[in-house]
């Protein structure tokens, strides 16, 4: 049986779609436009490029608001430059000031910025190639540390049950030694949880030069009950996102950072 296409469908098919490539930023887009023109970067036809740049922005159905700002600053910069080049040279003193919000103040600066961006863009391509090569090489995972512990403790080829038993007893002994004696913990008198939190924040804020503290800075040299309270306060702050806790690698000291 033949299926008939609905008129609406037909209409959709005849529509002309252009798939637009995504650009990393305004410089990236500008580059693409200049490359298409096949001109030397020092002789950019400014008005044509500006036109095409604006056309591209219009062609986007919706601008992602996150990134729109940066693209619009470029549009403004291009238009500003174009208008300045049309006008007779004004005394430069007055104009220089107001340009801080723009990407560039002159065509030379635009070219310089474009060339700088191009350098890093091509470096990124090289890095990408390296990443692809390197992704095919697997390295050992850090957890392998455990393997040599086992081999050292027990002789794999000649072990008997008594050896295993001995090892087990050793572990039990160690565990008992390390275990905190169970105590009922009451909060220290005269200091509340919220006060403790406040203390920590003040301490972190007081010293702006210091990038981070170590966890021990807060926990050592205190009474056990207060240590527990401080520890909970730090966890709460981390949960709220007021501080972050960081550890470079396993067994390293834990760092406490103010949230940037």
């Amino acid at each position: 049986m033949r299926t008939l296409k609905s008129p609406k469908q037909k209409h959709d098919e005849s529509r002309y779609y252009v798939k637009l490539p995504a650009f990393e930023g305004p410089f990236d887009l500008l580059f693409h436009l200049i490359n298409k023109e096949e001109v030397d970067i020092w002789d950019i036809p400014l008005s044509r490029i500006t036109e095409q740049y604006l056309e591209y922005l219009h062609s986007l159905q919706e601008l992602n608001t996150d990134r729109a700002g940066d693209f619009l600053v470029m549009a403004a910069s291009l238009l500003h430059l174009k208008s300045r080049m049309l006008l007779p040279q004004a005394p430069s003193l007055l104009i220089e000031r107001e340009e801080e919000a723009l990407f560039f103040g002159s065509k030379e600066e635009l070219v310089r910025r474009l060339l700088e961006y191009k350098l890093y863009k091509s470096m990124a391509v090289q890095l990408k190639k390296r990443e692809e090569q390197q992704k095919k090489i697997f390295l050992r995972l850090p957890e392998t540390r455990k393997i040599y512990f086992v081999n050292k403790q027990l002789n794999f080829y000649g072990y008997d049950l008594s050896l295993l038993q001995h090892a087990l007893l050793n572990i039990e002994k160690k565990k008992n030694k390390n275990r905190f004696k169970q105590t009922n913990i009451r909060l220290p008198e005269g200091i509340s949880f919220s006060k403790k939190i406040q203390h920590i924040i003040t301490r972190l804020k007081r010293n702006t030069a210091r990038l981070y503290y170590y966890l021990e800075d807060f926990l050592l040299k205190r009474e056990k009950r207060e240590t527990v309270l401080t520890f909970f306060a730090l966890l709460e702050l981390a949960k709220r996102g007021s501080i972050s806790l960081r550890q470079e690698k396993n067994t390293d000291r834990i760092q406490v950072l103010k949230k940037i």
Binding site: P26, G69, K128, K136, I137, F138, P142
Partner: protein, 181 residues
């Protein structure tokens, strides 16, 4: 001379010790460290590494000897990758870096230590999320603060960065800069 088996029944060569040490280690071993482990001369260590490298280059072997800033490390042969991937789930394998991340890394590696604003000036686009992601992946770290207004944070690349891209040192990176696409 190289038989350093301390009077035991089997003789062990420096090459064997180095191979074993590299097998066991999960981080690069420097020449000095290898020299200490096997107690041989630096020249002997270098020769042994050369021997291992030559041996591994045979088709029958599945490993490669990698050289990084920090030293030597064993890795798997690139040709085995498609098979080894079956050992892992999707989320265990690093997702490739985005174009934005690569551009940002290129800038940081070349100009470090740099601030976020300096990076954004070059890229012309907000880079906050990218930096956060790179910090999380351990490819860059905070190098301190810049003196001056606002004392903004400075960023630099880590050893993990060198390892990730298989770059021996930052001088090698300079060469990448010269190459065009």
């Amino acid at each position: 001379m190289q038989d350093n088996g301390a009077g035991q029944t089997t003789t062990v060569t420096t090459t064997a010790i180095i191979e074993a040490a590299l097998f066991l280690s999960h981080e690069p071993l420097s020449l000095e460290k290898l020299r200490q482990i096997c107690g041989a001369s630096l020249k002997k260590v270098k020769d042994s590494l050369q021997e291992i490298r030559a041996d591994l280059s045979r088709n029958e072997r599945g490993l490669v000897l990698l050289e990084t800033l920090k030293g030597f490390q064993l890795g798997t042969k690139p040709e085995t990758a498609t098979y080894l991937e079956k050992m892992f789930t999707e989320d265990q394998i690093n997702t490739p870096l985005s174009q934005a991340a690569l551009e940002t890394l290129a800038i940081i590696a070349s100009k470090q230590p740099v601030t976020r604003i300096e990076i954004e000036n070059i890229r012309g686009v907000n880079t906050e999320g990218v930096i956060e992601n790179l910090l999380k992946r351990g490819l860059i770290r905070i190098a301190g603060r810049k003196e001056g207004l606002g004392r903004p944070l400075l960023y630099e690349v880590t050893d993990e960065f060198l390892l990730y891209f298989g770059i021996k040192d930052l001088a090698e990176l300079e060469i990448l800069k010269g190459l065009d696409t």
